[in-house]
């Protein structure tokens, strides 16, 4: 049986790695993991046979080309599988084209050789069948939720290749909040906040309760918050246990990023806001009133 090579993205957290493992198990009984980055996970689900690590120093970022070279040099065989997200969006189609394999990305269900993907901002599900010998795929972690018993695993270090690191510089606001991609509860805000100043209230709320902080495109476009908080078709696709939407209308492009959440709670002044069609609990009223109450001592 062809083994599955799980590519662990540099910023993936333990839970998402477990979900990725679940997806990998659906394509093979033999799973190896490779981490490219400053650190390799110290423990992994027991079902993983081997862990490889290509160390890079803390500051450098590898380009897609470099990641491709590493994968291509050390993993000539095996299905390649990773998590959805910008890391895999860059790498997988590039890698796949080099290997002459059509990639399957953002996969939401696997029953080999059949796969499912969400298209049209999640309004339609596409079923596809692959006759490929080798798969190149990325999966949405929230569709493969399973937790595993972890056990320590020593990483086999891969010899450095003769590649120069690239001159990318990442600017990121230091965050005092849990990672949006793995937060249990996410509070999210839209244009309804009306200003950057007001949006800080949501940040406070997230911090106060240890929740992840999401935003609509409108909130990011207006400069209320940085792009890495955007949830939706073109932002992050998340499925926390609880998603609380304040002042978000519920455009399909936004829903695409959060409608698989466990419980959706929406606060909006407009009783006809489409978000209420998807909310388990809706409250028609002013978001500021609600947030101020939640922040009150």
């Amino acid at each position: 049986m062809t083994k599955a090579i799980m590519i662990i993205p540099p910023h993936a957290d333990s839970l998402n790695i477990q979900y990725l493992t679940r997806a990998a198990q659906k394509i093979s009984d033999h799973i190896e993991a490779v981490a490219i980055g400053p650190k390799a996970p110290s423990s992994l689900p027991k079902v993983i046979d081997k862990l490889w690590h290509y160390p890079i120093d803390q500051k450098s970022e590898l380009s897609t080309e470099q990641c491709y070279q590493i994968i291509n040099t050390y993993f000539e065989q095996g299905h390649l599988i990773t998590l959805s997200g910008t890391f895999s969006k860059e790498l997988m189609p590039f890698l796949a084209a080099k290997l002459n394999i059509m990639p399957m990305t953002d996969v939401i269900a696997i029953n080999t050789p059949h796969f499912k993907r969400a298209i049209f901002a999640g309004n339609i599900i596409e079923s596809i069948t692959s006759s490929q010998e080798r798969y190149v795929l990325s999966v949405r972690p929230s569709c493969f939720k399973q937790e595993y018993e972890l056990s320590p695993l020593n990483a086999h270090i891969l010899d450095p290749l003769d590649i120069v690191s690239s001159d990318q510089s990442l600017s990121k606001e230091n965050s005092d909040l849990p990672d949006l991609l793995s937060a249990n509860v996410v509070v999210s805000g839209g244009r309804g906040f009306a200003s950057e100043e007001n949006f800080k209230l949501l940040h406070q709320l997230a911090k106060h309760y240890g929740a992840g902080l999401g935003a609509s495109r409108a909130a990011v476009d207006q400069g209320y918050i940085a792009n890495d908080h955007q949830v939706g078709q073109t932002g992050k696709i998340i499925a926390p246990n609880v998603y609380i939407a304040f002042g978000i209308s519920g455009a399909v492009q936004h829903l695409a990023g959060m409608k698989d959440s466990g419980t959706i709670i929406a606060v909006n002044t407009d009783p006809d806001a489409p978000i209420f069609e998807y909310a388990d609990i809706g409250y028609c009223g002013d978001l500021f009133e609600v947030i101020n109450r939640l922040l009150a001592p």
Partner: protein, 247 residues
Amino acid sequence: MKILVTVKKTIDYNVQAQIASDGKSVVEDGVKMGFNPFCEIALEEAIRIAEKHPDVEITALTIGGDTEHDILRKSMAMGAHRSVLIEADNTLDTLHKAKILSAYIAKEHYDIILMGKQSIDGDHNHIPQMLSALLSWDMGLFCSEIEIKDKSIFIKREVDEGIISQTINLPCILSSDLRLNTPRFIPLPKIIQAKTKPIEKISLNSLEVDYTPEIERTALSLPEKRQKGEMVEDLDQLIEILKGVLK
């Protein structure tokens, strides 16, 4: 400098796509169609570059049939100098399309390929990356800022962890994110003028692309719809619920 902008016609982003009776495609007849929003942003960016650098020539290209003439005409009305139609089925898979594009580009002399980062129908986000791999050109994905320097380009790109600033070399492939710009409105006289502009047609055979698809779409279906829940009327009750889940 020559810029190639790839454009795709898609169902308007405000329209909910419907599954056709074959169970494998979506209904397009009588449905409002337009630019894939990301392609429109890519084209707008090329036009802005050309406005600053008068030696820039913009070519708009799409893959498809006669039904794609309108999107190329619209591209020229917006500001593309010429347009190219590669005559092929526009539902080919993304690797196939990337190979077609790469075969075409290899025969021409372009400096920059500007593309939308994804198409809002298939939501793949593949082809710019694939083209970079096939042509061995630098790529800059998910751009929210593009600034042409002499022989290089400064870009900012939106990734999951924040914003990456980077300088890349020509020739290169750039893919646009939503915040790159807001496309201009096309005035009617320009649309009328573009009606008579030529479209260069290229047959798929002439590009000699060797490719056998290995992935087949077997069906389209609708996702499970969430049940509409309850409306809470009382603020105190809402606060209690929220405090319960937030703690």
